[in-house]
Symmetry: C3
Subunit: 218 residues, 3 copies
């Protein structure tokens, strides 16, 4: 068994890194779409994409007073962003944006699941109370998008589109804490919590679930 589990863990780790890369690209692409809508120039596109991809984790680390940031430790990501964004501006004509938005829904759902689990775990390991740890998971997964919309001078989509998104990150965060409390190892807790959150997100898109608004909102 001792021989098998590390190998599962290691192939899971490869899987996790692939998911993380894919999800980060999806988050950056959401920034690209938002920046294209507002007709930003090349600097605006790079900044908004970068903030969409790394803003959530950065804000969490500022709140937790943790350094270095992900993009400082792995600064190759900054290079990747600075090369891919202008490339996308050249290769992706604006009429493709609606298509792009549709295409990133699936990796974005993986990002939601993975980053809310990772964010909650990070905050919990930093000694935060459970409810704060879950909140930090939401910040990690959702606030890149909030900051993206603020930089584009738009009302944050996750505050106003009445889709279950942050609410699912909330569920995912508690799931992770519950699984860990039951003694599951971190890699397994993250995988299960992330997978369930992602599945719920994909299901909610397919089913068109929507959150309740104000009672007499006509």
């Amino acid at each position: 068994l001792k021989l098998v589990v590390p190998s599962i863990q290691s192939s899971l780790s490869v899987f996790n890194v692939s998911v993380e890369v894919l999800a980060t690209i999806a988050f950056a692409a959401s920034g690209l779409v938002a920046a294209a809508r507002k007709k930003l120039d090349v600097f605006g596109v790079c900044m908004v994409s970068g903030v969409a991809a790394f803003g959530g984790g950065t804000l969490r680390d500022i709140l937790l007073d943790k350094r270095p940031f992900f993009w400082v430790e792995h600064s190759a990501w900054v290079w990747a962003l600075l090369l891919l964004c202008p490339l996308a501006m050249v290769l992706m004509p604006k009429r493709h944006i609606v298509f792009t938005e549709k295409a990133i829904e699936i990796p974005d759902a993986f990002g939601l699941g993975l980053f809310c689990s990772l964010g909650t775990l990070n905050a919990s390991l930093a000694g935060m109370p459970n409810i704060v740890a879950v909140l930090m998971g939401i910040v990690t997964a959702v606030f890149g998008g909030v900051l993206r919309d603020l930089l584009c001078n738009s009302l944050p989509k996750t505050f106003s589109d009445h889709q279950p998104y942050a609410v699912l990150a909330f569920i995912g965060g508690w799931l992770l804490l519950g699984l860990r409390a039951h003694g599951l190892p971190d890699w397994l807790s993250i995988s299960i919590a992330a997978l369930i959150t992602t599945s719920l997100r994909l299901l909610s898109i397919r089913q068109g679930w929507s959150l309740p608004g104000w009672r007499d909102q006509k």
Copy 2:
């Protein structure tokens, strides 16, 4: 005397805590009103209310590099917010919003007085120069509202409504520093500075005072 003062102090402390709770609820309610105007969903409502209530103190603590935040140390407040906001969405129909806005003016004025005094004291104890300490008092009392408006994609009300609000926090901060410099104990300095600031705010609402704008603004 030694027997009397602690008892005054202790009943003042109970009074202070009550004021703080009431003021925090007023700040959160201002977020609720702003979120209702923008028809945010339940996640947006919780976030905007939370930022309105705790954003000012959190920003001050980030600037002062101080941890833990109030809502991390007292994480029951996060729970309270997550329960009360959806409840308010159910119980408070949108036509009540104008009424709510009027109703929170008085506790909000208490919040202004209390939080500018507490914020200035905190920053002063952290070794900030006087003018910076007063600025931190303003950040504590006013920037929850500024961040609330930014998250709602509105021009910050306190920047543009020409009412004396932050200006009164400025006066209150200096008052606190002056009283402390004259040797008054902290609890008394806070109480006096907060009370005067709150009174000035209530007076300014009643009298309709307004700040000067640009000279030829027609």
Copy 3:
């Protein structure tokens, strides 16, 4: 030589401080203009000007986890701002704003050059990888303006005006790192990098250079 270089350095230092003061005033004035456009009151004007002047460096220091901020260490600047902004509101009628915007282009270009070099140097000395140091130089020089526009509920000008501005700060940052890597002393590297960045900015204004946008943006 030993007698001459310090004297060059010392007169350069006087020159540098003058440039820094002038550039900071130009940044603050850009806040003043933005605040006037949105008809902000006296508190809004002071805050937006202050954020335009010091927001970039403050954000950089938050990201680098460095304290004290410039305006905490040199708190006389806060006083200067609180006195000059209301004065400007009285003396500068709104019809002069277009003129002011034109008049601050030159000191603003000096600010761009100086602050991108200083910011990059600061971050590099704090141990950041090169690409992150250059990014911090951009944050220092450009994000005061971004935060100014966010507080005014506008789309950030540097993201959307298609002028080379942050792109020049990017060039200036790499120039500084290159010069330092070739063994030039810091004061000389800063002076050369700042001067070239500023010259490029002035040239780009005069020539009306513009950044490419999205391919089919009609």
